[in-house]
């Protein structure tokens, strides 16, 4: 960029309007409304246009952020969209769910003294702008020899599928559930990521010729070996980390105890909040304790409140500083009246005479020395047990990969956490022409990391298929 950059304007970060908390806890509509064109320009004007371009390095798919911001500042929104789309195939989603504060925004020079440029909000604006104008269409690829099977339609699978289809390969995506999108559909709630956006992204893939086969559980309906035999030259496994974790404490099979996966799947994928127009019920309860403090926990507790719970309580064994959720989600949860019980760990779930949850017995914790993860280890304080009255308990303690695939694919190795072993740069597994990426390889992580893995695998698959 040789042209002279306009001078940055010093002003505080432009806020993003959002639904009032008192109102939004009664609906599932999206919480933030997004920037208007004017807001986006005003925020873009804050960018220093520095030479360091550290923000790009902070982005797992290296979006040319300074260029995007510059174009937005000049009102060239569609051009800005194209810049983002060069490296990020799901910008409307990433703008909403990426942990920007740990990736691009943390690197922003402005952030050293004040607030960084709101890169995520600008990205979201650009993507929404293009989608609303139907400008999101992609160029029609020139067909090329080669068939690739993608297993799983989460961000990893969708990205790999999109990139390979762009190169002209025949791509088929196999998805176990009845709807594509992975966690974007079944996990992340409507009020944070409207499902229309996921549908739009999936439809773009369809328009590019990607074939979507739903209701196919690979390992059961078809195996990886059968896919290879059926003429797919390469397989990409983007099967995620879908297995829930329970605490193995007494009372976990009482009525009213859910895994976050079940609670969120019922609510989001099955639309239990529209029961009985939609057939799937949910028992949100009156007082809901959600155990954990990641994005999954925040989503669960905020769903519970919208489903009518009087009290939504986060129970977390470490302190506020260690909570892994995006800052914005924690902030939204606080605004919505969620109660945080930190340094608290459940030891037992108590039931009534009919077998329904009536209370959660917890113990207080204190922080000791840092553990392997670098976070200070929580240690129970002897004799500090107490009970809190609740009628629903949701376990949001992390997830691990489903063993179905590796159990049914000879030669496919997993590590001791059950994650598929795959090369970091290519995604190649221990089976030739079988690639993997996303949560299936890393364990539960982020949308953008899954996309990055899908991208790298697409490049690697292309390199192999070209040489066939």
């Amino acid at each position: 960029m040789t042209e002279e950059r306009k001078k940055p304007v010093k002003r505080p970060r432009v806020g993003m309007p959002e639904q009032d908390p008192g109102q939004r806890i009664r609906n599932f509509k999206e919480v933030p409304f997004g920037y208007t064109s004017e807001m986006a320009i005003r925020e873009a004007e804050r960018c220093l246009g520095c030479k360091a371009r550290e923000c790009v390095a902070g982005c797992p798919v290296e979006v040319d952020i300074p260029r995007m911001i510059e174009l937005v500042r000049d009102g060239k929104f569609l051009e800005a969209y194209r810049v983002v789309r060069e490296t990020n195939s799901l910008p409307a989603i990433c703008g909403r769910v990426c942990p920007q504060e740990e990736q691009c925004e943390i690197k922003c020079l402005l952030g050293r003294k004040g607030e960084p440029v709101a890169i995520g909000r600008i990205e979201r604006f650009v993507a929404d702008y293009a989608m609303q104008r139907g400008e999101a269409e992609l160029d029609r690829p020139r067909p090329r020899q080669g068939r690739v099977a993608i297993v799983g339609s989460g961000p990893a699978g969708l990205t790999a599928a999109g990139d390979l289809a762009k190169l002209g390969y025949q791509v088929t995506v196999f998805e176990a559930l009845h709807a594509p999108g992975g966690v974007l559909m079944y996990g992340i709630p409507e009020f944070r990521l409207p499902k229309d956006i996921v549908h739009a992204e999936v439809n773009l893939l369809r328009a590019m010729g990607v074939d979507l086969q739903l209701n196919v559980v690979v390992g059961r309906t078809l195996t990886v070996d059968e896919l290879m035999k059926d003429g797919y030259q390469a397989v990409f496994l983007g099967t995620g980390a879908g297995l829930p974790t329970f605490m193995s404490i007494p009372g976990e099979t009482l009525n009213g105890v859910y895994s976050a996966n079940e609670f969120l799947t019922r609510t989001n994928l099955m639309k239990a909040y529209l029961f009985p127009e939609h057939d799937t019920p949910i028992k949100a309860g009156r007082r809901v304790a959600v155990v954990g403090a990641g994005n999954v926990a925040m989503d669960s507790v905020r769903c519970a409140i919208r489903l009518g719970a009087e009290a939504g309580i986060i129970v977390y064994r470490r302190s506020e500083a260690e909570m892994p959720a995006r800052k914005e989600e924690i902030h939204h949860a606080v605004d919505e009246g969620v109660v945080f019980r930190t340094l608290t760990n459940p030891v037992r779930i108590l039931g009534d005479e009919r077998g329904w949850v009536k209370a959660l017995e917890c113990i207080r914790m204190e922080l000791g020395e840092p553990d392997a993860s670098g976070r200070r280890r929580p240690i129970p304080i002897a004799g500090s047990e107490f009970t809190m009255e609740v009628d629903t308990v949701v376990m949001a303690l992390g997830t691990s990969p489903n063993p179905i695939i590796h159990q049914t694919t000879p030669g496919l190795e997993v590590n001791r956490w059950g994650c598929l072993v795959a090369d970091e740069t290519t995604g190649l597994t221990t089976r030739p022409m079988v690639y993997a990426g996303g949560d299936a390889v890393t364990g539960a992580a982020t949308v953008i990391l899954a996309m990055g893995a899908g991208k790298r695998a697409a490049v690697a698959i292309h390199r192999e298929l070209e040489n066939l």
């Binding site: 009845h178 559980v217 829930p244 099979t253 009213g256 057939d279 489903n402 179905i404």
Partner: protein
Amino acid sequence: MFKIAERRDLTPVTKLFRVQAPLVARKAQPGQFVIVRVREQGERIPLTIAGYDREKGTITVVVQEVGKTSGLACRLEEGQGFPDLAGPLGRPAEPLLIKTGRAITVGGGFGVAPILPIAGLLRQWGVKVTSIIGARTADLLILEDELAAVSDEVLVATDDGSRGTHGFVTQVLQDLIDKGQRIDQVIAIGPMAMMRAVAGVTQAPGLATLVSVDPVMVDGTGMCGACRLTVAGEVKFACVDGPLFDAHQVDFDEQVRRGKMYAVEEKRALEACRCGGGHQ
């Protein structure tokens, strides 16, 4: 769309569907199930596979009307279909079955349907098969001829005495045990109360007994844990660890209780649509 190739009304509230599902038919094994939805807004429910034809690419399922979703399913006609159907899921029965001697199968209500392929498998191995079937009344007995074709004998019990033994299937089973006949394994599928009663009868003589549990499910692939149950003091997921389990290790009380988790909602759903529940 998974097209219904054939529909048969087994009783006024029990329908058999042969469904076009070639990939599932290619892999299906006795003991496994599929997850279906009956409409776009529908919930995901498990249906046990009652048969399959690998050449024709069809599987057979039997649905009994008990609530809204099963009621809607029972209204599906030939040519219509299930918008979604995934499977085959769960562990096949094969490794759990004793492949010699004599087996008793016990089918209560529409549980006779999933018994069919299991009895067929046992017969293939040369196991002598005695099948006991039961229902409230003679008109509600299903698939008797089909079962007879894969059994050495079929014994019938009805609650009202309109056919066979007047009483429950467990009485017939108890009689066989009391006669001191050789029994290597019992396989019981039906309502939870029936399976629990069978487990009670076979416990004292120490007869190996399998039951197929039928908990609430969502995904059917191990993802949600809705299907949790305690077996031998350990928490299992019925959809991936089952659905067949050692009857003497299953915590039936817990299963009955968990089965009632959505009783209020089920009633509400039924009232809201007034579509199902010709029964009870």
